[in-house]
Every structure is written in structure tokens, then in C-alpha cells.
Symmetry: C2
Subunit: 186 residues, 2 copies
DNA sequence: TTTGTTATGGGACGATCGTTCAGGTACTTT
DNA sequence: AAAGTACCTGAACGATCGTCCCATAACAAA
């Protein structure tokens, strides 16, 4: 089966992807509330009807965007852990650095990701996507650390959210002791 | 100065409060996205123009609502801690029970509160209100536990959010070991 | 070439939105 | 009693929204 040889479908898929990426940029800039067919189309440089053609409804567009976003996040976290492990580090420094980056230069993206969380709270079909990075991490850990892992993951989420409402992003140095505390075994 | 003797202002203040409470109910039901002058007015049983009269813009209405919501949350947390302390408990059971309640019967309210967080991330004027319950707790604790406290608070926030995207609310029994782990001194 | 399918995009429709305005009521002050 | 202030509300305006329709272009299968 040659599947993707059809030039029309290929172009369609490419444009679908462009629309999804434009949607993510809109969410980073203005939040989920700023997502309309027209703003997304303008951001992607396509006519308004193009977004309605490729996504049956605005809801579908949002869902597709947030699922794609969650997928990126999961693979990113996976490689981060993998890298830290191969260095034999327990990871407090790495995690603190990653948090500081997520709350500083990548702040918009982080806000978008947490809007996914809350949207998933209201829409069950988004929950598997929202849980993906939690599942990825859980599967990488020895089953006897489960409680410690859950506490750690919850702590990371909390530090993220609380960092988002700080007047200026916390530095890795400020975050490290807290992360270290969360990582400490008992 | 008699201040609130003016019957007109009294009625105005009362209606303002009713509108704020109606707005909170709308947020619990449909999220911040569902807040419009018309939905709020319908929920409060007042004409649409009443919400625009008492709040210069929809933004002001949202801000007033979320600030009021944050204030309630802060005093609630204050008394919760006070109660736990007077019982001499370290509080793992109490906290786990409170989490389970927030994620079960009071789920809508909890979602509304976390939408405040994300809105505050985008609107600096909301941040003091969003931080209030953190400040209340921080001020009730010995300064040498600061790192442990920050880790604990972050963990609570994370458990809340993650609990919101579970397919069914976690029970207090499931949460207790994680909370206990977060509370354990080192 | 003919036929069928998919993508594209201009234009428009009805609904809903935030907000304004003007006329009216209720209350206080003078 | 008269003037001033604060609240109330029906009606409406312009803007923007999601979505649909239809003609056209690009491409594949026959």
C-alpha cells in the first residue's frame, strides 16, 4: 500500500499541520480564548474556509492542536530523562534548569500546555493526551518508587503553575533546592 | 461617616455581589470561556444591561469575580490549617480528605479556581489574588521550613491539577500516601 | 480523455457578542 | 417641594463569530 503517494492528500496533510502549528502560536500568544477560525487562518496565511475544510469544527481543531502539543511534550520529557540518566545524575540540576527554561524563554508554550490540562478537565476526550507525559515518566521508573514519583510529578506541576503567576520567572538557582527536596528519597 | 446608609448604594452593592456569584457559577459550569454578559445576567436573573452597568467591562467582571473567589479560598485554607493545628495533627489525613473533596463534590469550583491561576498568568493585575492562599500559608509557618513548605504547596497544586484530568476523582485513601510523602520532614 | 475525488477559496448567512443610549424609577440632599 | 444622584432596563448598533454553499483547480483512476 503506497498510502501517502497521493499528491493531493500530501498537500492536505501538510496544510493541516501548518494550521495546527499556527493554532499553537495563537494559543501561546492569546490563549485558547483567542482561537477562532479567522485568527488561526490569518496566522497560518490561509483563507478562513481552509481551517473549516480541514477541521470539521473549531472543537476538532483545538483537540488536534492540543493532542499534537501533548505529543511533543511527552517525547521531549522522554529524551530529557534519558539524557539525565545516561549522565548518571539524579537530575535536580537538570530539572531545575528545565523548569527555569519553561518559565522563562518558553513561557508562552508552557501556558499553552497548562491550558490543555484545564481543557482536558472539562473534555474527557483530551485526557489521554494530557496524561501522556505522566504516563511516559511513570513507565520509566521502578514500580516501588510509585508514591515518591507521584509526589515528584505533582511537585513539578505545582512549581510550573506557581512559577507562571510570579511577577518574574524564577531562576534555576531559586528552584534547585525545592526540586532537590522533592527528589530526596526517604 | 455613615457610609452604607444610602439605600441605593446598598442595593447596588447587593446586586453587584449577586452578579459576581452568578459569574462564579457560570465559570464552574462552563469555564471562563462561557462568561458573557448575557449568560451571567441570565444566571443572576437580571437584565443584561445590569451587568454592564455595575461592571464597566466584561474584563472588570471577570477580575472582580476571580478576586472574590481567591479571597474565599484564602480564608477557607486559613481556617482549615487552624483547625488541623488545634487538633495537633500533622495533617496528612486532613489534607488528603480536603483534596478528595475538592476533586469530587467541589470539582467545578476547583476547576474555576485553577482557571484563575492561568488567567493570572496572562494578566498581572490578577496575580496578587491568585497568590493569596500561598501567602496565607507561608505566613503561618516557621521560616526555616521554607523549602519544605514550597515543595509541599507545589505538590498540592500538582495533585489538584492531575486529579482534575483523572477519569474519576481520586479517593482520599489513594491520595493519603502521596500527601504523607510530601509532608515528611527530612 | 473521461470520470471521480480532494483541496482551495470567495462570499454570505444567521447567531451571538460587548457595549451604548435614552427614558424611567428610587432615594438623598437642600 | 425641588434638585441632584444612583440605579434600572428595553432596545438597538456595529463587530465578530462559526459555519455553509458553490464554483474552481489539481490530481488520480478508468
Amino acid at each position: 500500500m503506497k498510502a501517502q503517494r497521493d499528491g493531493r492528500k500530501m498537500r492536505g496533510d501538510r496544510r493541516r499541520q501548518e494550521i495546527i502549528e499556527a493554532t499553537l502560536r495563537v494559543i501561546e500568544r492569546d490563549g485558547v480564548a483567542g482561537v477562532t477560525h479567522r485568527t488561526v487562518a490569518a496566522e497560518a496565511g490561509v483563507p478562513t474556509t481552509s481551517t473549516t475544510y480541514h477541521f470539521a469544527s473549531l472543537n476538532d481543531l483545538l483537540i488536534a492542536t492540543l493532542i499534537s502539543c501533548a505529543k511533543d511534550m511527552a517525547t521531549e520529557v522522554y529524551w530529557m530523562i534519558d539524557r539525565a540518566r545516561s549522565r548518571g545524575s539524579r537530575g535536580a540540576n537538570e530539572v531545575a534548569g528545565l523548569l527555569a527554561e519553561a518559565l522563562g524563554p518558553r513561557r508562552g508554550r508552557t501556558m499553552a500546555e497548562y491550558e490543555l490540562y484545564l481543557l482536558a478537565a472539562r473534555r474527557p476526550e483530551l485526557r489521554p493526551a494530557a496524561r501522556r507525559w505522566l504516563d511516559v515518566l511513570t513507565s520509566m521508573v521502578r514500580p516501588d518508587d510509585l508514591v515518591a514519583l507521584r509526589a515528584f510529578l505533582a511537585g513539578i506541576d505545582g512549581l510550573m503553575i506557581q512559577g507562571l503567576i510570579d511577577d518574574e520567572p524564577p531562576s534555576a538557582e531559586e528552584l534547585r533546592p525545592v526540586v532537590d527536596h522533592l527528589l530526596q528519597p526517604r
